[in-house]
């Protein structure tokens, strides 16, 4: 492998912080992505110690000079995985919820892609639990909850997430 190729396995990224614990990076196609870890203290019962560590994982495009959907780019996936790790290094007890964007009804496709991404990059450090929620419009929305394997609250977190998920089936 050439040196340039070795160095380009992922893009460099910067932590912005701000309200949503944002990161930014720019691809070789000059697309600028923002990765957010938006606090979701309402996800769990607020009396639970882990409630304050819960975040919604959001991938947003800040700038896209190419018209249409950004092209497939393996470096983007690797960069997002590195950002994910970086955030969990900052806050070890992080609980992330990822819900698949559903405004264009492609949520199931996104869910499959997200699963492939997770399997490729979790490196046995993370645990994921999946469910499908139904919103008030009746739309089915696949969602995943991710924690580090060594999260001290993992049993309670998964139990409570299953309870939340079950409450949507009633």
């Amino acid at each position: 492998m050439k040196k340039e190729e070795q160095l380009s396995l992922e893009y460099k990224f910067e932590f912005v912080g701000a309200d949503y614990n944002s990161y930014v990076f720019e691809t070789s196609s000059k697309i600028i992505y923002e990765i957010q870890f938006k606090p979701t203290p309402y996800l769990f019962d607020s009396s639970k110690e882990y409630a304050k560590f819960s975040f919604e994982f959001i991938i947003a495009v800040l700038h896209n000079p190419i018209q249409g959907r950004p092209p497939l780019d393996g470096n983007t996936s690797r960069t997002i995985a590195k950002i994910f790790e970086d955030f969990y290094q900052k806050f070890n007890n992080t609980v992330t919820i990822y819900i698949c964007e559903s405004s264009d009804n492609r949520q199931m496709v996104r869910h499959r892609k997200f699963n492939i991404w997770f399997e490729e990059f979790h490196e046995n450090m993370f645990l994921k639990i999946d469910t499908v929620f139904t919103d008030t419009q009746g739309k089915r929305i696949p969602s995943s909850l991710i924690i580090k394997k060594d999260n001290p609250f993992r049993t309670q977190i998964f139990d409570e997430f299953v309870k939340i998920s079950d409450s949507f089936d009633k």
């Binding site: 040196k3 340039e4 160095l7 460099k12 990224f13 910067e14 932590f15 912005v16 912080g17 701000a18 949503y20 944002s22 930014v24 990076f25 720019e26 600028i32 923002e34 957010q36 938006k38 979701t40 309402y42 996800l43 919604e56 959001i58 947003a60 495009v61 800040l62 700038h63 919820i97 819900i99 964007e101 559903s102 405004s103 929620f133 139904t134 919103d135 008030t136 929305i141 969602s143 939340i164 949507f168």
Partner: protein, 50 residues
């Protein structure tokens, strides 16, 4: 009717994606992008210099 957790998550996500383009104009984002471009430039220089 009280919003369900999933409705809040969906709305928050939609709003965040909608607001993303505006974030680019914020000084903290501009500063981060400037740092990022500087680091990318340093990397390119390092590759050329090898």
């Amino acid at each position: 009717m009280e919003k369900s957790i999933i409705d809040r998550l969906v709305e928050d996500k939609k709003q965040a994606i909608k607001d993303a383009k505006k974030n680019l104009q914020k000084p903290e984002y501009q500063a981060a992008l400037q740092r990022l471009r500087l680091r990318n430039e340093e990397r390119r220089t390092a590759i050329v210099g090898v």
